[in-house]
């Protein structure tokens, strides 16, 4: 594995009595997309603010881009780009002036600054609006300008705090495309979102944040296997075969109408083979077999409910049949 882009150990933050982050550990490899998922108020933005040097943590340590967050904040800042939840554009000046301001603050030469600004305005479809004050932009345009400004300095690590909140579906898909392009270029992306679909779509790894702690972490598929709801579904066309199979598989949930049987299964190869072996032994041949894993919605609700403990693996099968 290459050097991680971001690592954090035991990050803590409280505001008064309210503990917002209660020990966060993270390791994010370079060139990957990491999604921090969680309900409103879980502390997602606080994590972004700490890792992007905007606020200081009360405890723990973190390295971003190989630099210590507390001791080398300025080096961290040189490596990152941040697009916060609230638009960080200067509404009083035009889109182009915003871009040139960023070029100046990134200490690009005048010619270089103009080239980069023009290129990004083009890439983010803002050429027509470039001479208008940013305050007149629509939400989607502001977001695009915001991200374009973040990219002026060519940051290696980008923080996107809820980049698609409030965007229409088309703008959202555009944003996803942009994020994928960034990663192709080797950039590390740290994004927060409340949309499971977005995490599923973009992220290599997902961490679920709830009540100031990371309650689960893994790829989308690994997370889905954490919660109950996975099953193998057998469909029959012949009612007689369906009946025979149902007798042979007393554990399965039976649907006489649709002629299906649902067998609890976590979707791993081993479990799947066990089911197939059992079917072979019993001489059952279904017309169609599909494997269902729970989607991230199931994961989200299971992990971020009022009772946040992860269900123990052993309890899974029995109660999963739906």
């Amino acid at each position: 594995m290459t050097n991680p882009a971001i690592t954090a150990q035991a990050l803590r933050k409280s505001y008064g009595d309210k503990v917002v982050l209660d020990g966060i550990d993270l390791t994010i490899p370079e060139g990957t997309v990491f999604a921090l998922l969680g309900p409103n108020g879980a502390g997602k933005t606080t994590v972004v603010k700490i890792l992007s040097t905007l606020i200081t943590a009360d405890g723990g340590e973190a390295r971003v881009g190989g630099h210590d967050l507390a001791a080398q904040a300025q080096s961290v800042r040189a490596a990152i780009g941040v697009t916060g939840q609230f638009s960080a554009v200067d509404g009083l000046i035009t889109g182009e002036e915003n871009m040139l301001l960023m070029a100046d603050l990134n200490h690009l030469s005048k010619a270089e600054g103009q080239r980069v600004a023009a290129e990004l305005l083009e890439r983010f479809d803002l050429v027509e609006a470039a001479k208008k004050p940013a305050s007149t932009y629509s939400g989607g345009m502001k977001r695009r300008l915001d991200i374009a400004m973040t990219l002026v300095g060519g940051p290696r690590i980008i923080f996107l705090d809820e980049p698609t909140t409030g965007l229409d579906p088309r703008s959202r898909h555009n944003m996803w495309r942009i994020i994928r392009e960034l990663v192709t270029g080797g950039t590390t992306v740290f994004l927060t979102t409340q949309y499971l679909e977005e995490a599923d779509e973009l992220a290599d790894r997902i961490a679920v944040l709830n009540g100031g702690r990371i309650v689960a972490e893994g790829s989308a598929d690994e997370l889905k296997r954490l919660v109950p709801g996975g099953h193998v579904r057998l469909r029959f066309t012949d009612p007689a075969a369906h009946r025979t199979a149902a007798t042979a598989l007393p554990d399965a949930a039976r649907d006489d109408e649709a002629l299906t049987l649902q067998i609890p299964n976590d979707g791993t190869q081993r479990e799947l083979r066990a089911v197939l072996d059992h079917l072979d032994t019993a001489g059952i041949e279904a017309d169609e077999l599909t494997v269902h894993t729970p989607d991230l919605d199931d994961v989200f609700f299971a992990l971020t409910g009022p009772d946040t403990s992860v269900p123990a693996q052993t309890e899974q099968p029995k109660e999963t049949v739906r």
């Binding site: 905007l54 960080a88 200067d90 100046d104 004050p133």
Partner: protein, 261 residues
């Protein structure tokens, strides 16, 4: 890049940004100019005769001479309200959070605001000064050096009030609050020696009027331009300017370095 050249470069960028704002939206600055100009016209053309009799002078032109130094300083107080408002507006914008996460000189955001405001205030003072000249204000045998010194007093006073205004702007949650907290900057001249001499005020009030920041600055300016007695007012004015500058600077820096909400 060395720290100094980084500071200069980033502060220049921030200054350009603030001047761009001021150029695009000049209404705030122009509105704030109205108050001192109105008071100048009011006290000269409406109350002028009575006032000049009150200070024991002959005609209206004596009162113009008395009034103008105070009005010039009042112009500074008035323009810095604009500073407090625009700093407060700026701090609520997301762009400041962006600046904080960039590898730029930490102080450049505030330095840009301060230099921009000082320049605007000086332009305002010159404008009001020109109006005063048109109304008949003339200095009494002031040498070039005295004019230069007068200009220096105005500039230093502007710097001091601007840093205070930046601190007030940073400490205010919104533009209205910033405008309210900066009110003393325009009210203080009214209870200084700007319009009437200190000894014409009630005895218990005289120490307040005499030692507040505006009176020593006004008396110094009068001394330089009109040849009146400066006395200890020169040192007092310098001390006030220095103290307010340091206080405003420290206060603003401390607020800027604090974690944002």
């Amino acid at each position: 890049m060395s720290t100094l050249s980084l500071a200069v470069r980033d502060s220049t960028t921030m200054l350009r940004r603030n001047l761009l704002h001021a150029r695009r939206y000049p209404s705030l600055t122009l509105n704030l100019l109205l108050t001192p100009v109105m008071l100048l016209l009011l006290f000269v053309y409406i109350f002028g005769d009575t006032m000049s009799a009150g200070i024991g002078g002959g005609d209206r032109s004596d009162y113009i001479a008395y009034l103008v130094p105070g009005v010039l300083l009042m112009t500074i107080g008035s323009t810095t309200i604009g500073t407090a408002v625009s700093v407060s507006n700026d701090m609520t914008e997301g762009i400041i959070a962006r600046f904080r996460t960039m590898a730029i000189h930490r102080g450049s955001v505030l330095i840009g605001h301060v230099i921009g405001s000082v320049l605007q205030a000086i332009i305002s003072v010159v404008l009001v000064g020109l109006i005063a000249l048109a109304m008949g204000f003339r200095s009494t045998d002031a040498t070039a050096l005295e004019w230069l010194a007068a200009f220096g007093v105005l500039a230093f006073f502007t710097l001091a009030l601007t840093w205070i205004a930046v601190g007030m702007g940073m400490g205010s949650p919104n533009a209205e609050a910033a405008s309210n907290s900066a009110m003393p900057l325009i009210l203080l001249p009214l209870i200084s020696s700007a319009f009437v001499p200190i000894d014409a005020m009630p005895g218990w009030f005289q120490p307040i009027a005499e030692y507040q920041p505006f009176t020593p600055a006004i008396e110094t300016l009068r001394g330089l331009l009109l040849g009146t007695e400066i006395g200890h007012n020169g040192w007092l004015a310098l001390a006030w300017c220095l103290a307010l500058t340091v206080l405003g600077y420290r206060w603003s820096q401390a607020q800027f370095n604090r974690d944002p909400k």
